[in-house]
Symmetry: C2
Subunit: 240 residues, 2 copies
């Protein structure tokens, strides 16, 4: 997926740190609610506070980190409201994409998707691998509709949703069920049955969403209570 724009974006320290932190937040390697100290992080990375600070500002802009002036910075807790928003947004976009499928589907893309589905069904699939396949699958559907770029926009708003999904899958790896739903969507789409594809997609996405509700009842501490919730400074153990 290497974009040419990436080569344009010359390597800077803050960008590297941003990418690294973002990854750690999205994979829950940095737990929701965890405190992030500019000083500590800078020291552990061997750079000054400046690039660290700036990368935190970028993450805050993404909604993945909350910065409380003179108090501290924290990995934002998963906000149920934001998860719901992202869910609504995603559903709207993916359904619209299915409605927009061209009559002639890109053969190579279809082949890629088919292979993707095969790998999803592989027994003993690692969770992280399933996640990557899942991401690629949905992204591929948007490609089919010619609205690939919209995906990156959705992806930006999808941070909270993704973290929540990950939480859900960590509990009980129901990836097999999801893989079946993926297959259903795909088959309907390639056969030109838009309505069935849309219905299947709706069912799928809502199943994902209800999974999240379940996990929320199970691990409430990872979710935000109020928007102005209290940040707890202790329990740091951030890096490694």
């Amino acid at each position: 997926m290497g974009r040419m724009a990436d080569s344009n974006r010359r390597a800077t320290s803050r960008r590297a740190i941003y990418e690294r932190l973002r990854q750690k937040v999205l994979t829950l390697d940095l737990a929701p609610g965890a405190a992030i100290s500019e000083n500590e992080l800078a020291a552990s990375l061997g750079v000054s506070r400046t690039p660290v600070r700036e990368s935190l500002i970028m993450l805050a802009q993404d909604g993945l980190v909350q910065i409380f002036p003179k108090i501290g910075s924290f990995v934002s807790r998963v906000d149920p409201a934001q998860v719901a928003d992202a869910q609504f947004l995603r559903e709207a976009v993916e359904l619209a994409a299915l409605e927009d499928l061209p009559a002639e589907l890109d053969a190579q893309l279809v082949e890629e998707l088919r292979e993707n589905l095969t790998r999803q069904r592989a027994p003993g699939l690692e969770l992280e691998d399933f996640f990557a396949l899942d991401e690629a699958f949905h992204q591929g559907l948007l490609r089919l509709s010619g609205h690939f770029n919209a995906w990156t926009t959705v992806a930006a708003a999808k941070g909270h949703l993704d973290r929540a999904r990950r939480l859900g899958l960590y509990e009980h790896a129901s990836s097999a069920a999801f893989a079946a739903q993926h297959a259903e969507i795909f088959e309907a789409a390639v056969s030109g049955d838009t309505d069935r594809a849309r219905t299947a997609m709706r069912t799928h996405l809502r199943a994902v969403f209800s999974d999240i509700e379940r996990i929320r009842a199970h691990s409430p501490h990872l979710f935000a209570a109020d928007s102005g919730s209290v940040p707890v400074r202790r329990s740091v153990a951030v890096w490694e």
Copy 2:
């Protein structure tokens, strides 16, 4: 609409500068392609480069500013691809919202929307005022559907689209036609005719979009040619 979170976000210099710059970019007060100098801006605002720089980083994260390391920062040109994405996204979300309208509509909201429409039809309406009303109208529809928060998410990705729309309206103030379309959507929505509302919405949004295509042919210098386009340091006085 004042969120409690806003009181939480204590006033910092960088936040103030960010808001201010963002406004200037969205209203085209800062022209697409214009160079922004940290030094110059800091001097003119009477603060150090740090908060200015950090606010630029925030804007870059929004996609409204491009930062080229060791070269300069520029108001990003309106990217047609991003405009199209935002258009697709917006259409998907607003149509989904209309599909999700509850049986019983919030009476107060309905009243607000009705009044909004009345003001849209006022003769000799200032362009900026129409824009504000337009924004409030679409936002109100999402409120009706109970997905208000999704609007803020869309709004974040809507920067390029809004700038393009503004360009379009500056050319020929066709606000009357848009106001009529708004009314059509509204009437259909309150009468419970979801299908007609969706059709009208689709027509409306696509009219807006085609307007943008027209203006692009007319003022190509405000749009990005390629994604890795050349930032020209001179030629600042794009607008006026």
